[in-house]
């Protein structure tokens, strides 16, 4: 067993254990943190596949931003576990169907020889100066530029929609415009009045 194999099996074991933890832990904060762990180990596995851009982007986007906001929400919710369990049998057929589809997809990969996957040549390992990021960028901005732009527009629409749905205009909010605050002059606010000196009571 080579060094790479050891890394692969260690990371896979951690990934599977943490992914199981995500769905079995009762405390949602633990689940979210284990999801972070599984993202990081997954990034480690992708590094073994020479996909360093994807691996680091996974950590940067999902671990660094998305899961932070997830944790943010999960920590502030007061979740009643009994209420969550109520609909279990009602939704069981639907969940089972999704599970079946996933098992099917995984079996296509694992039992590749029945589907002719083993006829694909193994990808050749690249030299040390090969930059995965550069190659990916070249493909995205030349050959697949329309698909890339479409995905970007889709994300933009989702973002605008989310903001538009949650935006509320409050009448009683107290807000000051910093530009106005800065441009205030002495004569706008200050009134100097001359008051005659009072005589001392004797």
């Amino acid at each position: 067993m080579s060094f790479q194999d050891i890394i692969f099996y260690t990371f896979s074991a951690i990934l599977i254990a943490s992914a199981l933890g995500v769905i079995t832990f009762r405390n949602p904060v633990y689940s979210a943190l284990l999801l972070v762990l599984s993202f990081i180990t997954c990034a480690g596995l992708w590094l073994l596949l020479e996909a360093e851009f994807l691996a680091i982007a996974l950590v940067l986007v999902y671990v660094g931003a998305v899961m932070v906001l997830f944790l943010f929400v999960v920590m502030m919710l007061d979740i009643n576990l009994d209420q969550l369990r109520e609909g279990f049998w009602k939704w069981f057929p639907f969940g089972g169907l999704i599970a079946l589809v996933m098992v099917g997809e995984i079996s296509i990969v694992l039992m590749g020889k029945y589907f002719g996957l083993d006829e694909m040549p193994t990808p050749k390992p690249h030299a040390a100066d090969y930059s995965n990021t550069k190659e990916l960028g070249r493909l995205i901005y030349t050959e697949y530029v329309y698909a890339f732009e479409l995905a970007a527009v889709l994300l933009l629409i989702a973002m605008v929609a989310a903001i538009a749905l949650t935006l509320r205009h409050r009448e009683d909010k107290k807000i000051v415009d910093p530009a106005k605050q800065i441009s205030v002059q002495k004569k706008d606010r200050l009134r100097i009045v001359s008051i005659p000196a009072e005589k001392k009571n004797q």
Binding site: V29, I56, L71
Partner: protein
Amino acid sequence: METIQQYFVQFFGTQWGSMLFSLATNMIFIFAIVVPLLLGVAYLTFAERKIIAYMQIRVGPNRVTFFGIPWLRGWGQPIADAVKAIMKEIIIPTGANKFLFVLAPVLTIMPALAAWAVIPFSPELVLADINAGLLYILAMTSMGIYGVIIAGWASNSKYAFLGAMRSAAQVVSYELAMGFALVCVLMLSQSLNIGDIVSGQEGGSLLNWYLIPLFPMFLVYLISGVAETNRAPFDVAEGESEIVAGFHVDYSGMAFTVFFLAEYANMILVATLTSIMFLGGWLPPVDVMPFTLIPGFVWLLLKIAFILFFFLWFRATFPRYRYDQIMRLGWKVFIPITLIWIVVLGLIMQLPESVRSVFPLNIWF
């Protein structure tokens, strides 16, 4: 080195020998980076107390010394502080989540140290010379926030939780501006490798540093760096006048000290990155005789110290920002500036060579 490697190969066999040898050398390199870094952190706290003291016309720590030497008075203070912190009891609150409470400081300091793996100290002196170095640093620094959030939640205290929420929102917002500022750097250098970014600024004098063509980005990066490390004037996460001490209000002893160490290690990291991305890293300011004699490592240290001085200066000068103004600065000022600058830079890079060469100083390469 070669002979030691031979011994390893003879002892462990050809397959494992070289692997274990690189493991051992990497461990030594890691210690060679982390130990000076932690010493630097200790003396940065001393520098902070001294500098702020002189700015406020005080003297600062001036008692603890080594072996009674009078002119070293005050220099023993960080050591004394460290000994005190180790001796103190770590109190875990009754309602706290014990496991996460202890895990949080570790999660804070881990990314602050891990990011140093790709920092080049001179053209040859780098632990991991990887192609995606800049991305790696962005990924590592974005993970530092977990320690703060977990500390806030696990403490089971309202003040700590409020501090964690504030800090999380602030760091996530400023990370965007920081990332976009670095996008400008990588557009100019056309590489994600940090060594290549420094080499791209080579060319005779400080006029070639990215500081000049990217001056607005330098300011955005430096200010976002201050916000990212939760330092004054952006330290609402601690905000002792409102929420006592924010996320680490329930921590004591060494557990608190680890948060403290992580904050200062992050400061040094941001200062290092600023000097590498914008101030030419190990390059001397002018490529003439007396300056080139000084090794590049010393130049990098000088630049880091220069940026760190700004951090301390800011703390002594500015009052704390109001929370809504922090968010306004991040989202409504910095992100538009960086986005516009990326477009401007892209347009200039697309100009034909004959037009570009007319620019003054030829800073746009």
